[in-house]
């Protein structure tokens, strides 16, 4: 039974070491484990990220809290002081730790601003009221004030049932990288050796003997897993449990005798197959469901997503290897060659990655250099791209020349169409400039290389295999065009909030930005400010909800966030704590040389703090009216704490924001699948309902809802269907899904023929009458029809050409008119970009997810792909910005400025098996329009073909009523 216990607690130990054995182990090994965790740092008044500050003052600290359950677990184990999910972002862990400690002492000694020290002392007193405990901050914040859940107890309870166990062999593949050992100063011979250092399996020879098991004597030489090292390959694979016996590595039998030798034979990063003997419960005995469930959970929930691991700077080799065959490269080449001392590859200032395909590209770097030089002489313009064939792959290469150096980025054509390559390259360049000031300073410093490696690893991973990064199975198949398009927009996704919430958010942010920190502020002590807060912006689950930054700064900040995937991170995972601090070089502040006024010449710092789904980015200025920054200052605790306090203050609004996110989409959207003619789905639903009790309930719900809403019963015969609403969304959309799957492969799920899922929402707001004859594409009157309040009428209803009415009248009118006109809601998707404010509005992910269906995701992908083309057409008409040589020849060649562009698409359901009838088709428009007056805006909409033309005009003019 001893082994049962160990195994039962296996998961707990894996995370934190909570069993008796584990406890022994950890107390035993405190010294060893300290290199893996920094949380057992004795001074609990220091913030936990303090150790992670790099030499140059930068900080990237990310700690996750993974769901409530995991958080409980973490809470339970946090007393052990082992924070699993915590890794610092650096190449050589141990080395930097020691240096940092030294450095911190040093900086303390040599004039750390007095305020900081003072603040720290003050904080010591205030702490209990202001924040709850530095060390457990992240966990406490996740509102887990209850006593630590006793997982052990529960498990012990479940474990009372008699268990029959069975020895089983299992095979586990783990990825090992001996190179990562290189930087570790941990003496290998000390304990554990390679087994522990490389694989992360802790084995104690003495324990086996001590267990007194009858089998122990026999097993003396066997490698029993006594513990797992946090963040090691062994723990990350999630399948090696404590108590397992390691039998073989890559089919080589191993014992305590030879394991070190076997492991030392692994030359480089590779995957090895471990054979383990495990104790598994015999299937069919249900006495141990809890255990099974926990094992299952351990298996199904990967410890952390690839993205987070990548952000932490681990495991880049594995991810990189998986795209090694796809040619992609980034190089920074010097155009000034010193021919007197010919040296191999001296012109390469920076290069990433090192793979087979990329080395082929590297070998032809002469081409890039020659082309850059030749074409400039030839055509008088800088080269911006070239296409080449590498075996079967078509590769587009983008260029960016800065002074005497040339940045070359090669990307596979199937990922990035040539049309959009320039935008992608421009984005990278701008991000690098924001981070480092200029390309030269980014690439020419040797110590930036590891960070750039990490930067470009993220860059390529996002472009080439985005699916690996978001390994949540629920996520829709990644939409590379969508990513390209939305990320390429010079704007951030905005979430409109109800005015009360918006006001509150703004107030809280303004309060923070006033830097009035009370007795924490510098003023209180009569000191000069360390930083001036230039502004901040607030994200909730990847949506921007408030912005107090100038547009260009917002874009800079957003580029950084996008590049480091911070936005998806905050929406998918619950961020326990995220603190980022770095010096940045906001682009327009660096460039602006307006006569008469000059920006104060200061240094700028970006502080990003994330708590759960909130993330606040603050831009700080040192110098100017604040005290100038010396050296490379690290994050200041006061400021970080103030941002945290702000975020905590905002958490009360979370419910309101969630409500907004859950609200039915405004303007309401339709699902493409509803428009494909099929057998009357309602009939089918009813037919199915008679046979299946579950479905009958669903059908009832659907009926009930449709007759329940105002005026809805009138449509009873016409099989109208309400679009998923909040109250109904679960059952309703499941019902659709069931119908879809139930109808088999022959037809896509279509709920009603030619009909119209309108939602029975309140159509608030006022309708403006619209003069007819809006004809040409100039659409200069966008602002005229602004809707006074935040209600969003759906502009696609024909029956809205009415004078201003009161709300109630409108509602009645709406119902009546719908009856007579039979208007259908035909809007599928939209993106609206406010160029001036740098934001765009699109249906939220949740709104899109609600419109499940098989065609709809395809449609959205297609929409985004088309938008790439439309936007490229718009771009060509704008004078190039940010590029050299902006004096464009005036001759109006080419197609000239494009104002509006639309494409009509036809789609057919996939797997149309019916030979007799042709597949039903549905046609829809994707239209983009660019307005320059009164405010520059870009719209992209996607709607069904059947919509009358006048409402289309109206849609553009109304700007969706999404006034800000």
């Amino acid at each position: 039974m001893a082994s049962t216990n160990v195994r039962g607690g296996g998961m707990t130990v894996a995370v934190g070491g909570q069993t008796e054995d584990g406890e022994d182990y950890y107390s035993d090994n405190k010294s060893t484990s300290s290199s893996y965790s920094s949380s057992n740092y004795s001074d609990d008044l220091e913030p936990e990220w303090l150790d992670d500050i790099q030499k140059n003052g930068e900080l990237f600290y990310l700690e996750l809290s993974e769901g409530e359950e995991e958080a409980v677990l973490a809470q339970a184990t946090s007393s052990q002081g082992v924070s699993t999910n915590h890794v610092r972002f650096s190449e050589k862990e141990a080395e930097i730790i020691t240096e940092q400690k030294k450095q911190r002492c040093g900086s303390l000694a040599k004039g750390e601003p007095a305020l900081k020290r003072l603040a720290r002392i003050l904080r010591r007193k205030r702490r209990p009221s202001q924040r709850r405990g530095g060390k457990d901050g992240g966990k406490d914040i996740s509102s887990l004030t209850s006593a630590p859940a006793s997982i052990l107890k529960n498990q012990a309870g479940q474990r009372q049932g008699v268990m029959v166990q069975q020895q089983q062999l299992k095979e586990v593949c783990v990825y090992l990288n001996p190179k990562r050992l290189g930087g570790s100063s941990l003496p290998l011979s000390d304990r554990g050796g390679l087994l522990e250092a490389l694989l992360g399996v802790v084995h104690h020879p003495s324990w086996s003997r001590g267990q007194g098991d009858s089998a122990a004597a026999r097993r003396e030489e066997r490698l029993i897993v006594h513990g797992l090292v946090p963040n090691s390959p062994a723990i990350k694979c999630g399948q090696i449990l404590i108590g397992d016996v390691l039998v073989a590595v890559d089919d080589v039998d191993v014992t305590t005798e030879n394991i070190e030798r076997v492991l030392s034979c692994i030359p480089g990063p590779t995957q090895v197959r471990l054979t383990l003997e495990t104790v598994g419960p015999v299937e069919g005995i249900s006495g141990d469901s809890g255990d099974a469930a926990s094992v299952q959970r351990l298996k199904t929930t990967p410890p952390v997503s690839q993205l987070v691991r990548l952000l932490w700077g681990e495991d880049t080799a594995e991810l990189q290897m998986s795209i090694g065959h796809i040619p992609h490269i980034v190089m920074y080449l010097s155009l000034k060659l010193d021919s007197s001392s010919p040296q191999e590859e001296q012109e390469i200032l920076y290069q990433y990655p090192v793979s087979e395909a990329s080395s082929q590209l590297k070998a032809v770097r002469g081409i890039f250099l020659t082309l850059c030089d030749m074409l400039e002489n030839f055509t008088g313009g800088q080269i911006i791209s070239s296409s080449l064939l590498l075996g079967k792959h078509l590769v587009h290469v983008g260029y960016w020349k800065e002074s005497n150096n040339l940045l070359v980025i090669g990307l596979p054509a199937e990922r990035v169409p040539l049309l959009y390559l320039q935008t992608v390259v421009g984005g990278v360049v701008r991000t690098l400039k924001v981070m480092y000031g200029s390309l030269d300073s980014a690439f020419c410093k040797a110590d930036h290389a590891p960070r750039l490696d990490h930067f470009f690893c993220l860059f390529f991973q996002q472009l080439i295999q985005p699916s690996r990064l978001t390994d949540s199975s629920s996520a829709p198949p990644t939409d590379i065009s969508g990513t390209l398009f939305l990320d390429g927009l010079p704007a951030v996704r905005w979430l409109t909030l109800p005015p009360e919430i918006k006001m509150e958010v703004d107030t809280v942010l303004s309060d923070f930005e006033s830097s009035d920190f009370g007795e924490m502020s510098e003023d209180f002590f009569g000191l000069r400010r360390l930083y001036v807060i230039l502004g901040s912006c607030l994200f909730y689950k990847a949506y921007l909800i408030a912005n107090h930054l100038p547009k260009e700064d917002l874009l800079d900040v957003c580029l950084y966030c996008q590049h480091y995937c911070l936005l998806p991170l905050a929406s998918e995972q619950r961020v326990g704590q995220l603190v980022i601090w770095r010096e940045v070089f906001p682009q327009h502040r660096a460039q602006q040389r307006a006569p008469g006024y000059s920006q104060p010449h200061g240094r700028h710092f970006l502080l990003i703090v994330g708590l759960r789904h909130f993330m606040q980015c603050v831009l700080l200025e040192a110098g100017g009216c604040a005290s100038p920054a010396l050296g490379s200052p690290g994050p200041d605790c006061v400021y970080v704490d103030q941002v945290k306090a702000t975020l905590l203050q905002l958490e009360v609004l979370e419910a309101g924001i969630e409500e907004r996110l859950n609200a039915p989409p405004t303007p309401c959207l339709s699902c493409a699948d509803w428009f494909l003619p099929a057998a009357t789905a309602r009939d089918r639903l009813d037919g199915l309902a008679s046979s299946s009790p579950v479905l009958s309930k669903l059908a009832g719900a659907v009926k009930g809802s449709s007759s329940g809403s105002r005026g809805r019963s009138l449509f009873g015969e016409k099989a109208r269907r309400s679009s998923p609403q909040r109250s109904l969304s679960d059952s309703g959309s499941e019902g659709q899904a069931d119908t879809g799957t139930g109808s088999g492969s022959s037809m896509a799920p279509a709920l009603s023929p030619h009909s119209t899922p309108d939602s029975a929402r309140k159509l608030g707001g006022r309708r403006d009458s619209l003069g007819s004859g809006g004809s040409d594409g100039s659409g200069g009157s966008g602002g005229v029809f602004k809707i006074p309040r935040m209600k969003h009428p759906n502009p696609f209803y024909l029956g809205t050409l009415k004078k201003i009415l009161t709300e109630r009248e409108t509602e009645e009118m709406y119902n009546n008119m719908k009856l007579t006109s039979g208007a259908e809601n035909t809007l599928f998707h939209y993106v609206m970009m406010e160029t001036v404010q740098g934001i765009f509005i699109a249906p939220t992910h949740r709104e899109v997810a609600q419109l499940s269906g098989s065609i709809h995701p395809q449609l959205i992908r297609n929409f985004h792909h088309c938008c790439l083309s439309i936007r490229a057409a718009f771009q060509q008409s704008l004078p190039p910005r940010g590029r050299r040589g902006t004096d464009r020849p005036q001759g109006s060649r080419g197609l000239g400025p494009v104002k509006e562009h639309g494409v009509l698409f036809q789609c057919k359901p996939e797997n149309w098996t019916d030979q007799r009838k042709p597949a039903p088709t549905m046609t829809y428009w994707v239209i983009g329009r660019m307005l320059l007056e009164p405010v520059p805006q870009e719209f992209y909409v996607c709607f069904h073909d059947s919509v009358a033309e006048v409402p289309v005009e109206m849609a553009f003019r109304l700007s969706f009523g999404l006034a800000l």
Binding site: Q360, L361, A363, V364, L371, L375, T379, G380, G381, I383, I384, S386, S387, L388, L389, L390, G391, H396, A413, P417, L418, L419, S481, G773, S775, D776, G777, Q858, R861, N862, H865, C866, S869, A872, A873, Q876, S877, P880, R883, R884, G885, R888, P889, G891, S892, R893, G894, L895, G896, V898, E900, H901, V903, L904, F905, Q906, C907, T923, E949, V952
Partner: protein, 387 residues
């Protein structure tokens, strides 16, 4: 050129101001490089330029084959001699480069430019009889540099050959001679064996030609055949010439708000195109209309309607061309129509299984009416001419 040793094949480059360089190696012996200086500066249009440069390279290569034959080009023994020989195709290449004559789209579309005569049956009969009498199966009548009628076999030639022969005819008739006998190699049909192209000017602007073997002699054909078959048809030919650059007979009534159109029959690989003369200053000039039509064709074909397979692309050369075709395959649904509103005009294109129609309309036409205009135009033309 570059990087061949490293297994890298460079195909094109683009510069900031729309400059573009395109490479292409033909038959492992001749490399053609096309450079576009980007004199226009319309940044985004350079993508389109790539398609036209690619087409230009193909056309130049084919015209070299047409004049010299493939053997001579594929195995070059004496470069100097080849250079000298190549002079003979300069006039043709110049014509491809300069595009002197307005309204010739075939070089770009690889669809033969056609002119729909008012009474095609008479002419068709005449061409067939004339061709037969000249011991040939390939014959055609060209009016204003466009094919008015041709024999069945003529249409069976590869579309690119038809386009090139038309170009050759234009350059020959521009030389002013009344008739000529010109040896041609067909780039796809018979790249190594020459045929004779006999051309006779019937009226200024109307030429007839046959592709034949060793007989008949030019003299005999000119003296006996031309008069016999074509004299009775002089009036019909005049009617035909009167159609002019509208390319469509008067029976086709175009809506007044169509500035220019290009209609392609995707099955027969023929096209008609026309620009309506207009004195209105608010609409683009004639030349600009032709240019816009070309640009719009390039715009929509490179992005949405993947181009028809042209025969001149062998499978191994296929990837070379794909750099300008990386976008269209990305669509999960099929594009059918598209429109563009620019500062000068509105463009609309519509694709059916059989036709592609490209339209320019003035800005005064409401956007929502474009689709109706396009469908009406298409049905009007097809109904009246059966094109």
């Amino acid at each position: 050129m570059f990087g061949g040793g490293q297994g890298v094949l460079l195909s094109s480059c683009e510069t900031e101001r729309g400059g573009k360089v395109v490479w292409r190696v033909f038959q492992d012996s001749v490399m053609l490089i096309a450079v576009n200086g980007g004199q226009g500066g319309g940044g985004g249009s350079s993508r389109g330029e790539e398609l036209s440069l690619q087409r230009l390279l193909e056309n130049v290569w084919s015209s070299m084959v047409l004049v010299l034959g493939q053997d001579e080009l594929a195995s070059v023994r004496n470069v100097e001699r080849l250079k000298r020989d190549l002079r003979s195709c300069f006039s043709l290449i110049d014509q491809l480069l300069e595009e002197k004559q307005e309204g010739i789209m075939g070089n770009l579309t690889h669809c033969a430019d056609c002119l729909v005569p008012p009474n095609p049956t008479l002419l068709q009969e005449a061409v067939e009889n004339f061709t037969q009498a000249a011991d040939s199966e390939f014959g055609c009548l060209m009016v204003h540099g466009r094919i008015a009628v041709a024999t069945e076999k003529w249409w069976r030639l590869a579309p690119q050959e038809v386009v090139l022969l038309s170009a050759l005819m234009r350059s020959l008739s521009a030389s002013g001679s009344a008739s000529c006998d010109y040896p041609v190699f067909l780039p796809h049909g018979s790249p190594t064996v020459a045929h004779r192209l006999l051309r006779f000017q019937l009226l200024p602007g109307a030429d007839v030609c046959v592709l034949c073997g060793p007989t008949p002699s030019l003299l005999r054909a000119e003296t006996t055949l031309v008069g016999r078959f074509w004299l009775p048809l002089a009036d019909t030919l005049r009617d035909c010439l009167a159609v002019g650059e509208r390319c469509l007979p008067g029976s086709v009534s175009l809506r007044p708000d169509v500035l220019a159109l290009l209609l392609i029959n995707r099955e027969t690989r023929r096209s008609v195109s026309c620009v309506r003369a207009s004195s209105d200053s608010s609409v683009p000039s004639r030349a600009r209309c032709w240019e816009l039509l070309k640009l719009f064709y390039i715009f929509s074909t490179t992005r949405y309607f993947s181009q028809e397979e042209t025969l001149c692309v062998s499978p191994e050369e296929k990837p070379q061309r794909s750099s300008c075709e990386d976008f269209a395959p990305g669509f999960s649904h099929q594009p059918l129509q598209c429109y563009l509103v620019t500062e000068e005009c509105k463009c609309y294109t519509l694709q059916t299984p059989q036709h592609q129609l490209f339209l320019l309309t003035p800005l005064s036409v409401p956007t929502f009416a474009l689709r109706t205009v396009a469908t009406h135009t298409l049905s009007a033309i097809t109904a009246a001419t059966g094109f």
